[in-house]
């Protein structure tokens, strides 16, 4: 049986591992390579690495750092942030990424999704969508452009049609808050897509992950809970098991 994935997400800024709250107030919390090593030894299901400076266009993608991180990963590694061209994807895959997460370029030019997925395969292309709720309505948010007047579900369906393999769905309002995932957002996505949705933003305790899966998430991503609490990915696995959610159990 296919397992629901629990995916730690690490944010890079100035070559360091940071944690954000609502996409700002970054705090440095360690070195990304040693963090990747720990996650590998804990047999996490996958790892997502997002380069914040690169995504804001402050820096180029940090290929050397990604190479070092990938050396530690014998699980699937997704890298995002600052991808602007097909050649950028080539560079990240050559550095050891298995998938890439694209956002700004896909918002600018949907045909980039088509081109990337036809070259690298859909399984390689994750489209990330950041969402903010404004006056009761969910809208797409972009770090560089701010709030956009786009319905996230329509955008996700558009990405799917153009060849995206997965959607990484992040609630900016819930991100870093520990209050749980945006379940209402997830419910809206349920049965709307034929590709998997990874829900991100807000997990503060293992039960939050259960709620996400029960409301339609295929996989969950989280950062804060692993960096700042005593919970490990294994605690979430056991919580899933208690609720009869299929999850990878290691011996």
């Amino acid at each position: 049986m296919l397992k629901h994935r629990i995916i730690p997400c690490v944010l890079l800024k100035d070559w360091q591992l940071v944690k954000s709250i609502n996409f700002s107030s970054y705090r440095t919390i360690g070195h990304p390579v040693s963090t990747a090593r720990i996650y590998n030894s804990r047999n996490v299901d996958e790892l997502i690495v997002l380069d914040i400076d690169a995504s804001l266009g402050i820096d180029e993608m940090n290929i050397e750092l990604i190479t070092d991180i990938a050396q530690e990963c014998f699980m699937p590694l997704t890298v995002g942030g600052g991808i602007k061209t097909i050649s950028d994807i080539h560079k990240l895959l050559d550095a050891g990424a298995d998938k890439v997460s694209i956002n700004t370029i896909a918002l600018k030019d949907i045909n980039f999704v088509t081109e990337a997925s036809s070259i690298f395969g859909s399984q390689c292309i994750i489209c990330s969508i950041d969402v903010k709720k404004v006056q009761g309505v969910y809208k797409v948010f972009n770090k560089a452009q701010g709030l956009l007047d786009i319905d996230p579900i329509v955008l996700a369906q558009d990405f799917e049609r153009h060849g995206a393999g997965e959607i990484l769905l992040t609630s900016v309002d819930y991100e870093g808050t520990l209050q749980g995932y945006d379940i209402e957002l997830m419910k809206g996505f349920s049965n709307k897509l034929d590709i998997p949705v990874i829900l991100n933003g807000g997990m503060g305790k293992p039960l939050h992950g259960v709620e996400a899966i029960q409301n339609g998430a295929d996989a969950i991503a989280a950062a804060y809970i692993f960096h700042f609490s005593e919970y490990t990915p294994n605690d979430i696995r056991y919580e899933f098991l208690k609720h009869d959610i299929s999850v990878r159990i290691l011996n």
């Binding site: 049986m1 296919l2 397992k3 629901h4 994935r5 590998n40 047999n43 299901d45 990938a70 050396q71 014998f74 699980m75 699937p76 080539h90 895959l93 050559d94 550095a95 050891g96 298995d98 070259i119 690298f120 395969g121 859909s122 399984q123 390689c124 393999g165 997965e166 049965n191 897509l193 034929d194 590709i195 998997p196 295929d218 996989a219 990878r248």
Partner: protein, 195 residues
Amino acid sequence: MGNFCSVQKSFERNNSNVIVSNDHKIIMNADKIVLPGVGSFRDGMKNLTNLGLIDVLNEEVIENKKPFLGICLGMQLMANTGYEISKTKGLGWIDGEVVKFDFPANNGLKIPHVGWNNLMIKSNNLLYEGIPDNKDFYFVHSYHLQLNEDVITGMTEYGYQFVSSISKNNLYGFQFHPEKSQELGLAIINNFINL
């Protein structure tokens, strides 16, 4: 394609000398041959054809019987025919076809099949030495092999049971990614290195 790097790294972690190459001479001098690959069946065959690798592979793998490991698309390409994008002739080493997951409408199963899923070992072979039955391995694919000959070593359930690994003489194929499946995956690669 793209995942050469992961495969290379997993061999190096097992202290094996690995060269990523499309050079005929290097392939002819190799002890063993690995064909990884994600991407489409059509483009995979097109690339092998354009690089002039089909004859070299036939000679080294089928005639000279060098141990061959096909991973994901690399396994699928061993079949007679693939149906991804358009009907395409494969290497024809295994009597079978590569078809898309076919589910009834609204059954809730997503395509691609991506994530960790159980490998049910159906027939033991040297590469499964020390691998317990029913463990999770990492999959990411939308198409799978449908066989007309019994070379199955493993099956996996996603909507229905599909072929997740095969072996025939010197040929080994995995639909999942051993290079991305942590300790047990690396153990399979180590078994291949030690053949």
